[in-house]
Structure formats: structure tokens, C-alpha cells
């Protein structure tokens, strides 16, 4: 069974980076099959950005490399939430960063809404590693990949001098899931409705 993950938002939010980390952690460090692709033109700050990751067991080849119906959708801005909210499975999960997404999209999936960017800035003093916080959250919610593999991939792919803050961000993401704050703050979604 292939798990389909779509990471969407704005250029500069680091979605391509975490897509590659996720694919490398699952594919190289956990021996699964993994494909990561990107929609073009989003790498510059400001434009829309999309990164798809598909993960399957080692014995199962991944054919089509783009998400058809997402198991997990991350939307880091309103436009992305609106565009991709409808392309999520019934059993899927939609993760919204309410720092930017003010209206929950129409979707069949379960919504988890949390102000990731705001909270990352509060906790780590910078909003930049929000992408890694979200990566940790997605990995656990989707049971995609273990922490050890993520740590290895982050150490390998982080720009020089950025691995420490990225590992702190990873820990923060694990903490958010463990403490149940996402489900609690997930109540925000009622306010959103």
C-alpha cells in the first residue's frame, strides 16, 4: 500500500527540503520505496510550492509519482488548503498551519489545525524551522518513518550550521504530538468552522 503525502504552501517555507528529508529517511534509511517530486517554479520565496512524497513497502514499486488522493495533506497557506483539500482520502488527514490558513477547506479528511509557524517562533526564537516541526508531526500522524531515520536525514541534508536548530525543531514536533496539544488546539478548528 502506497502512502501519498502532499506538502503544499508558499515558496520559501521549506517544503521541498522536508519532502526530500522524508523521502530519504523512508527510502534510504528505512529501506522502503520513496519518490519525491515538486511542482515547478515554487522554489523562490513567495510563489506557490508543492512537494509530493510517496512511500511504499520495499517489495512494492511506486508507479505514478504524483499524489492522486492524499493520505496526508499539509497546507501552509490558504490557497494550498483550498486547492488540495478536495483531493484527500476519506481516511486522510489534513494538517493546517493556522498562522496562515484562516478558513478550513472543504475536505473528506480529518483536520488538525495548529499555528505551527507562530508556535515555532515562540518556542525556538525563529519561524524558519517550522517546516521541520511539521515534518515531525506528519511522520508520526501518518506512521511514516521513525525518528532515528529522520535525524540521520536531517544531519545529512541540513545546510552547514543549521542541523542543530533543525534537530531542536524535530524534537518540538515530537513533543507536540506526544503532549496531545495538537488534538487540544485542534479545537481551534471548531472556531474556524
Amino acid at each position: 500500500m502506497t502512502t501519498e503525502i502532499r506538502l503544499s504552501g508558499s515558496g520559501g517555507q521549506g517544503l521541498l527540503f522536508i519532502g526530500r528529508i522524508l523521502a530519504e529517511a523512508a527510502g534510504v534509511f528505512e529501506g522502503k520505496n520513496a519518490v519525491q517530486s515538486t511542482s515547478y517554479g515554487g522554489q523562490v520565496r513567495g510563489g506557490s510550492s508543492r512537494s509530493d512524497v510517496l512511500i511504499s513497502p520495499a517489495e512494492e514499486e511506486i508507479d505514478f509519482p504524483e499524489v492522486m488522493d492524499a493520505d496526508l495533506l499539509l497546507a501552509m497557506n490558504q490557497e494550498a488548503a483550498d486547492e488540495y483539500g478536495g483531493k484527500v482520502k476519506q481516511s486522510g488527514v489534513v494538517i493546517l498551519d493556522t498562522t496562515f490558513v484562516k478558513q478550513p477547506p472543504k475536505t473528506r479528511g480529518r483536520i488538525i489545525a495548529y499555528p505551527f509557524t507562530l508556535k515555532t517562533k515562540e518556542r525556538l526564537g525563529s519561524a524558519l524551522p517550522t517546516n521541520v516541526v511539521v515534518l515531525a508531526v506528519i511522520s508520526q500522524i501518518g506512521a511514516l518513518v521513525g525518528k532515528e531515520a529522520l535525524v540521520r536525514a536531517i544531519k545529512k541534508r541540513s545546510p552547514k550550521g543549521k542541523d542543530e536548530i533543525n534537530l531542536q525543531a524535530l524534537n518540538l514536533g515530537f513533543e507536540l504530538v506526544k503532549t496531545g496539544v495538537l488534538q487540544r488546539d485542534g479545537d481551534d478548528e471548531r472556531e474556524l468552522h
Binding site: 523521502a23 527510502g27 534510504v28 519518490v35 515547478y40 508507479d63 505514478f64
Partner: protein, 376 residues
């Protein structure tokens, strides 16, 4: 190099494959979506004692590659459709002078300068970009693993047959990442151009029989090396003799066409018992495989024929398949290029339909499935 898993982009895998095949010279001019190949080669060539040159334009890049190859170094360049249009002059020269080289085209969308999104719009350009009855080899990878292995195959074929080889990647594949287990060097077969076995004074630059590949000496080793882009005779002298024209042009074709069993490669999926067969190549073949999976769930029997070598086109096998099935669907990200070859090959013996997309987005498995149902 130990066996290790890596997550590579298509552009990185092509570069590493070419390096594994022995390429030690790269000249190029930056163009999206091929630039990462230049970036990798700029880093890797000096590490390996090779040469990286960023040239002033596309024509200079192919010219530098041809010069390097004449010096005895395996050489490559990479660009996209608009760059290949400029490089056509040099590629045609390499066809006539029989200079081995690998040319990567990471295809983008549209005529003119176009745009940077993916397409398969340069399939005919690969074959017919240069003037005249152009005989080249062109390969079409569908995965990161194939980007690596077909770069090796491309270098090998270019050396063995002294012919330019065009690797047709695309903007999607070039930037897609997938896991690949890199082989150890002893698992990689590399090939070198045929070398002269005669003394320098007896060497004739184009001495081969009507189906043959002439031995190629390096510049600077005492042989009179003539690399001639004009019509020429076996000695490499400029010629205006009709018999020389006839012999040379036939030989440039025959050296490829008499070795189709060695050169052609394709993948077949569930062809036996299929009612309909999809012909798809490169990235689109993956949508076709997904569509076959979906069709199977709905009780349809659909197969896939995927040319891995696009030029020369695998006519013989496709003609056989055409006689056995009820219809062929050619799915490609252009206005219909390979469908012409499929129609030519099957000669009206089977209905042939096309599914085309030219907006820079991938053909979706559901679109293929819908078209298959329409064909019934």
C-alpha cells in the same frame, strides 16, 4: 565505491551515470531544467581529474564536446529543447564525422523559448534536429534508476557505434528524487570506441565496410586523424563523388540498422492476452502502469509497450503486438509525435488512438483509464 542507497534527482543520476561510464569532459551552457547536471559536473569533474567548461553559448558547448571526444576523452553536454535547437549544427557534424558524445535533453514545454515545465515535445527534434537523413540513437528513462543506467548505456552506445546519443529526460524526471542503489564499478560494463590496429602510416580515417564502424585514433598519437563533416571517402578526403556519398550515407545508417538487436530496448507489461495496449515512454509510462493497475481492478485487460530506446524505433516488435491486440493507445506529453511511428509501424492493422497533454502537467492515470474505456 561501496553499495549504498542514495536519494538522487534525475539530473544528479544522469550525471553520476555518465561519470560511471567514464565521461571526464563536460561543456555546457546553463538552462533550466538541465542546470543541475552542469552543477554536479562542475563539482565532480575536478575531483576526478576531468574537465568542466561553462561555455559562452550552446553551439560552443557542443563544439567543445566534439573537440574533447576527438582528443580521446568521453565527453558530454546537457541542455533543454531551445539549447538543442542551437546544438543541432554540432550534432549533425558529429553524425557525419562519427564523433562519440552523450547529449542530455531535459525537455521543457513549448516552441520558441517555451517554459520550464515538463514535456515530451522534443522526441522528433532528437531524431530530426540536424539536417539531412539523420541517424542517431535516443534513449528515454522513466525512473531515477534508469537515468543512471541509461546514461551509462548512452555513453557505451555512442562509443561503440561512433554516434551521438541523445538522452531524453524531462523537467519532471530531472527534478524528481528517488532511491537508487549505486552499483560497484565492477558491476558496470563500459565500452570504448574501436581503435586502429594498423600502423599510423596505414591508417585511413573512415576505413570500414558498408555496415561497419571505422576505428578512431586520438589526435596527437601519430595517426593522420581526419574528422570530416563534409561528404568524404574512406581516407577522409573531401569528396564530390556520388559513389562516396552513397556509400557514406548508407554506412552511417547501416552501422545502426544492422545492429538493432544490440541497440533496441523496450519493456513489456502484461502484453499477452491484453485487449488494448498502451504505448508510453519516459515519465508517462508510470501513469500508464498505474492506469493498467486501475483497469485490471475493473476487469479490463490492458498491457504496456514502453520503448526504452526511442530511436531507432522498435518497429519489429511493435508490429507483432499490433497484430494481436484490439487497439493501441499512445499516451505522450506532446501533440502526437511517437503516434506517427506507431501508425507507420502498424500500417492500419489495428486502431491507434492518441492521448496528449501539452500544458506542462503530467498525464494522469485517470485520463488514460477514461480513454481506454472510450476505446472499449
Amino acid at each position: 565505491m561501496s553499495r549504498e542507497g542514495l536519494l538522487l534527482q534525475g539530473n544528479e543520476a544522469v550525471s553520476e551515470g555518465a561519470i560511471a561510464a567514464g565521461v571526464r569532459f563536460f561543456a555546457g551552457y546553463p538552462i533550466t531544467p538541465a542546470t543541475e547536471i552542469s552543477e554536479v559536473m562542475a563539482r565532480r569533474m575536478p575531483e576526478l581529474g576531468g574537465t568542466f567548461l561553462q561555455m559562452e553559448d550552446e553551439i560552443a558547448s557542443i563544439s567543445a564536446v566534439l573537440g574533447a571526444s576527438c582528443g580521446g576523452v568521453k565527453a558530454m553536454t546537457a541542455s533543454s529543447g531551445p539549447g538543442l535547437a542551437l546544438k543541432a549544427e554540432g550534432i549533425g557534424y558529429a553524425v557525419c564525422a562519427e564523433i562519440p558524445c552523450l547529449i542530455v535533453n531535459v525537455q521543457r514545454t513549448g516552441p520558441g523559448v517555451g517554459s520550464v515545465t515538463p514535456s515530451q515535445q522534443d522526441v522528433m527534434q532528437a531524431k530530426w534536429g540536424p539536417n539531412s537523413d539523420n541517424m542517431i540513437i535516443s534513449l528515454s528513462p522513466a525512473s531515477i534508476k534508469e537515468c543512471f543506467w541509461l546514461a551509462i548505456r548512452g555513453v557505451n552506445l555512442s562509443e561503440k557505434y561512433r554516434v551521438p546519443v541523445i538522452l531524453l529526460s524531462d523537467s519532471f524526471l530531472g527534478h524528481m528524487s528517488e532511491k537508487i542503489d549505486l552499483p560497484s564499478p565492477e558491476e558496470i560494463e563500459t565500452m570504448d570506441r574501436p581503435r586502429p590496429t594498423v600502423a599510423p602510416e596505414k591508417y585511413k580515417a573512415y576505413d570500414a565496410d558498408i555496415n561497419g564502424v571505422p576505428p578512431l585514433a586520438n589526435f596527437g598519437e601519430g595517426y593522420a586523424v581526419r574528422l570530416v563533416g563534409n561528404m568524404h571517402n574512406k581516407a577522409g578526403d573531401y569528396s564530390r563523388n556520388p559513389r562516396d556519398f552513397d556509400f557514406l550515407i548508407n554506412r552511417l545508417h547501416n552501422k545502426i540498422l544492422t545492429n538493432l538487436a544490440d541497440i533496441c530496448a523496450y519493456e513489456e507489461v502484461e502484453i499477452d492476452g491484453a485487449d488494448l495496449v498502451i504505448v508510453a515512454y519516459g515519465i508517462v509510462s508510470r501513469a500508464a502502469k498505474a492506469a493498467i493497475r486501475l483497469a485490471k481492478n475493473q476487469g479490463m485487460r490492458v498491457g504496456l509497450f514502453r520503448p526504452i530506446v526511442l530511436w531507432p524505433f522498435p518497429t519489429e516488435r511493435l508490429a507483432e503486438i499490433g497484430k494481436k491486440v484490439g487497439g493501441i493507445l499512445v499516451a505522450e506529453m506532446n501533440m502526437g509525435q511517437v503516434i506517427r511511428e506507431v501508425e507507420r509501424t502498424t500500417r492500419g492493422e489495428v486502431p491507434v488512438a492518441g492521448l496528449n497533454r501539452i500544458d506542462g502537467l503530467l498525464i494522469n492515470p485517470l485520463d488514460i483509464l477514461a480513454k481506454l474505456k472510450e476505446m472499449g
